[in-house]
């Protein structure tokens, strides 16, 4: 026989979050009934008061019992818990009293008002325990939400813990390991608590990131129940993790400035991105927009597809489209005009090796959502380029194998989002390149022309030694 050992009190305690809603609702309703029944129009409600008071009283007592059991299973913020507990008990007693008074046909309306007040206070205190005491007011301080990504202008001069680590812990850990709640008996809101660790011991071992409990848990697979933060909570970004590991490896100190801590190239890059306020992910190119877009009429897409263009959504759940003209037969400028019907959705357009002319670029200039545009080996020239200088979303542009010169490309300098510009085998003079690179300081310009040098070993054929 298998003996199941169940923590029965803990199990019952876990019903508290479900049960608490009953007295809140029923007692409030009972209070409302009591007041309304004073009015002749609602006289009929009188008969419902008795039963609602009775049920409300029962559920209030049940909530008190389960709540008490739950409070023993985990660590909660003590002062809040104390208040919540006693207000709850008071509420239950008032509900008992009012039920008694009601049975004796005594006046209950002022006691009812007191009860409603107590229900609300108890409920608010309970909510503060689970959601954090600033839950209600958070909506008013929305500027705080982005504090994690707030730029740290002079990051090297800042104190590593307070400028980088503390905000990270506050954003991702403190809700459960802070003043309000101490899951696993761990608090991460103050240096002393961090050093102390939790019920499983130290979470930060200075100099040894890999052995630190905190890092170990973060690195566990998300599905693992010991993984932190729990799978349903916001996770640490790759960058957060790198910084946290770096902070622990370099000694987990609380008052050193960033510049005195050893930094690898990777950390240097991340720190730099902190200074600009752009996280790694934001600096990286995203070739598709975050916001969604409406669906295109299927007929418009089919019309383009019928011309031999591979036009498909960029993914199964997206309405954004990519179009590749590689297999089109007898291309004319009219084929591009078909794209205007999908200009909102079309974000990737491949026209390499197609006889696109300057005149066609005016059509392309209307496709203002384009993020990637391939125009390599087309017939475009400097004159045409100005017509795509308004494609503000453009991040990737391939002009390889065309006759454009630096003059033409300069017209695109307003494209602030441009990250990659391919200019292999264009008519751009080597001397003009530096100027272009300065104009496009945020853009990687690749002019190609790579060579694989000839080496003696390329053609040398080794043979077996003769004496073998």
């Amino acid at each position: 026989m298998v003996i199941l050992s169940i923590d029965i009190t803990g199990f019952i305690g876990r019903f508290h979050p479900v049960l608490v809603h009953l007295p809140v609702g029923i007692l409030l309703l009972a209070g409302i009934f009591i007041w309304l029944a004073k009015n002749e129009r609602f006289e009929s409600l009188r008969s419902a008061i008795s039963i609602s008071l009775f049920l409300g009283m029962l559920s209030a007592i049940a909530s008190c019992v389960t709540g008490f059991l739950l409070s023993k299973t985990d660590s909660y913020e003590q002062t809040l818990l104390f208040k919540h507990q006693w207000f709850a008990i008071a509420t239950a007693i008032i509900s008992l009293l009012i039920y008694y008074l009601h049975l004796k046909n005594r006046e209950t309306k002022w006691v009812a008002a007191l009860m409603v007040l107590f229900v609300m206070i108890t409920g608010h205190l309970g909510g503060s325990i689970t959601h954090g005491s600033d839950f209600l007011t958070k909506a008013f301080s929305s500027s705080d939400a982005g504090s994690v990504n707030k730029p740290i202008p002079n990051v090297q001069e800042a104190v590593a813990y307070s400028a980088i680590i503390k905000p990270m812990l506050e954003a991702k850990c403190i809700a459960c390991h802070g003043p309000n709640k101490q899951k696993g008996k761990l608090r991460l809101d103050e240096p002393t608590f961090i050093s102390k660790g939790g019920e499983d011991g130290a979470v930060v071992i200075a100099g040894k990131a890999a052995e630190s409990g905190m890092i170990k848990r973060i690195l566990l697979p998300k599905e693992n129940k010991d993984h932190m933060p729990p799978i349903e909570k916001p996770q640490l970004s790759k960058q957060d993790l790198e910084l946290l590991q770096w902070w622990i490896t370099t000694g987990a100190g609380y008052d050193q400035k960033v510049k005195y801590l050893p930094q690898t190239d990777q950390i240097k890059a991340i720190l730099k991105s902190l200074a600009s306020g752009k996280t790694d992910e934001m600096a990286a190119i995203s070739f598709f927009p975050e916001q969604t877009v409406g669906k295109t009429p299927e007929a418009a897409v089919q019309q383009i597809r019928d011309r031999g263009v591979a036009i498909v959504p960029i993914s199964q759940n997206s309405n954004y489209l990519s179009a590749n003209f590689v297999a089109i037969e007898s291309f004319t400028g009219k084929d591009l005009q078909l794209l205007e019907a999908v200009k909102k959705q079309l974000i990737w357009l491949k026209l390499g090796n197609i006889a696109v002319t300057d005149a066609d670029l005016s059509t392309i200039g209307k496709l203002t959502n384009l993020r990637m545009l391939y125009l390599q080996k087309t017939k475009i020239t400097d004159q045409g380029l100005v017509q795509i200088s308004n494609l503000r979303e453009l991040q990737y542009l391939n002009l390889g194998g065309t006759n454009v010169t630096a003059k033409g490309v300069e017209q695109l300098k307003g494209l602030k989002n441009l990250r990659q510009l391919y200019l292999f085998q264009t008519a751009i003079e080597r001397d003009d390149l530096d100027k272009l690179r300065k104009l496009f300081s945020n853009t990687i310009i690749d002019t190609g022309g790579y060579e694989v040098p000839k080496l003696v070993s390329d053609t040398m054929v080794l043979k077996a030694p003769v004496n073998k």
């Binding site: 591979a310 498909v312 190609g448 694989v452 390329d458």
Partner: protein, 500 residues
């Protein structure tokens, strides 16, 4: 005239069908038909859901139509270079100075106990690295002098140091790498990708295979087969010498129009067959006939490397008109430019046992490296300058690695320095296609015998390739024999450590 031809062919086909259609068929169809109907409606309630969930991406009328992946992928196409025979990681990618100190010593028993080798018997001697290693690029990746050109693009590469397999013979190990199973019958990764995404170019196959080195890989054509997927997704093997695809020219005496007319006629007959039997394979066949006709024009064009400029030939080391690995690599770039999804290259002749000079790790292997080093490096640089590297995933693959011990076939000393098959630990690398260059993942022990961390299995590599193309490897499935199959079967984890 062609109409008349059609009519005649159609009649013939109808006749043939009718001949086969006997009274027995009628009775069987009738009985089974009603029975199946009844059963279907009975079970419909029970299994209705399962058939809805196993929806297929296969559209028989246009099986190669371009399709969106699960999520926007970084890579649009893959060039998978497989070195068949399995080159020695200890002479290329895995720097093991400790092994040099053990050179010539008897292999300790602890390494041999409970281990199975393809050829090693008794107690072999350890064999130190037969190459000079250096750190390369900004990343400091260790690469041997056997690949001096590749060393110049080390910062584009993500090295997998701890790849492992459970197969130590070529054919099953190759099957495992490419189909997710060491046994025959599963679709290859190229077939899965083409099934998932179709082709961007309706005139070219979505999955092209090119082989070099004098032989096909040991696992044969199954390694690019379609398994239980519709056969339209199998790899199309092309040749870089002579006709790119066998029988692609019109037969003598038959002109293009005649050819077209006959294909149309055959397709008409097939269409009739389909409307009768509803077998989707017939539709596959129709589209393949059409594709074959289109390929007659498009394939010779894309498979012709003579029109590439001289500097490209110098860069890749290509010689038009010959079968060579270099030619195949250049073709791979051309195919990817033309919208082909998956180009699979196999280069045969890396099985360096030490049984001959050509199979010695200090002779044959070096010569082999010289043949692939330049073209692979050129491919990476050429894709980069064309703005295609970020969307083209390049993979160096092999079915397993080689032992740190010198092979002693039948317990005897081999005439040359060679190594036996080693399944426990070897290297592969990836570049482009959203892979973070200059990274490496996983480590092996001091002699490269066992994995210490970052274990990478075939399934993990497959999951990563699918991920880069925009597929959740657990969701790209196809129903066969009553259950949903996927490439990675029951395993596989995306190697996020090497992703950009």
């Amino acid at each position: 005239m062609s109409d008349k031809q059609d009519q005649r062919l159609l009649k013939e086909a109808e006749h043939a069908v009718l001949q086969q259609y006997t009274r027995r068929h009628f009775l069987k169809d009738g009985a089974m038909g009603f029975g199946a109907l009844a059963l279907g409606s009975l079970l419909g309630g029970c299994f209705g859901k399962s058939s809805a969930s196993s929806q297929t991406l296969f559209d028989a009328s246009n099986p190669l139509a371009s399709r969106p992946p699960h999520f926007p992928g970084k890579a649009k196409s893959v060039i998978y270079i497989h070195m068949a025979g399995a080159p020695s990681q200890l002479e290329l990618f895995s720097y093991k100075p400790e092994l040099a100190k053990l050179d010539g010593l008897d292999c300790p028993q602890s390494l041999l106990e409970g281990k199975k080798f393809a050829f090693i018997r008794g107690v072999p001697k350890m064999l130190g690295p037969q190459a000079v290693f250096r750190q390369r690029g900004k990343s400091g990746l260790w690469l041997s002098d056997n690949l001096p050109h590749l060393a110049t693009v080390a910062d584009e590469i993500a090295m997998l140091n701890a790849v492992t397999t459970d197969q130590f013979n070529h054919a099953p190990a190759q099957l495992l790498m490419h189909t997710g199973s060491a046994r025959l019958g599963r679709p290859s990764i190229g077939a899965w990708v083409t099934y998932g995404m179709g082709s961007e170019n309706k005139n070219l196959p979505g999955f092209v295979v090119l082989t070099s080195g004098g032989n096909n890989p040991d696992a044969g054509k199954s390694v690019w087969g379609s398994g239980f997927l519709p056969s339209v997704y199998q790899g199309v093997q092309c040749r870089s010498e002579g006709d790119p695809v066998l029988f692609i020219k019109d037969p003598s005496g038959m002109d293009r129009d005649m050819r077209k007319a006959s294909i149309d006629a055959i397709n008409k007959v097939n269409q009739e067959q389909y409307s009768e039997y509803k077998d989707p394979e017939i539709l596959s066949r129709i589209s393949q006939y059409e594709m074959a006709y289109k390929m007659q024009i498009s394939v010779p064009d894309v498979m012709n490397i003579t029109d590439e400029p001289l500097y490209i030939h110098e860069m890749y080391g290509t010689q038009p008109g010959k079968t060579s690995f270099a030619n195949n690599v250049l073709l791979a770039r051309k195919l990817v430019e033309k919208g082909v999804r998956f180009v699979q290259l196999f280069d045969w002749g890396w099985d360096t046992h030490g049984d001959s000079a050509g199979n010695a790790v200090d002779i044959g292997l070096v010569n082999k490296c010289a043949k692939v080093d330049r073209p692979i490096t050129a491919l990476i640089l050429d894709l980069k300058q064309r703005g295609l590297l970020d969307e083209t995933l390049v993979i160096w693959g092999q079915e397993f690695g080689r032992t740190p011990m010198q092979e002693n076939r039948e317990g005897k000393k081999m005439p040359f320095k060679g190594r036996d098959h080693h399944s426990a630990a070897f290297n592969m690398w990836m570049a482009g296609g959203g892979i973070k260059g200059g990274t490496s993942y996983g480590e092996t022990d001091e002699i490269g015998y066992n994995i210490v961390s970052g274990k990478t299995e075939a399934y993990d590599i497959q999951a990563t390739i699918l991920n880069q193309l925009g597929f959740d490897h657990e969701k790209l499935t196809y129903e066969s024999q009553g259950r949903n199959f996927r490439l990675t079967d029951l395993s596989g984890k995306v190697i996020t450590e090497i992703l950009a």
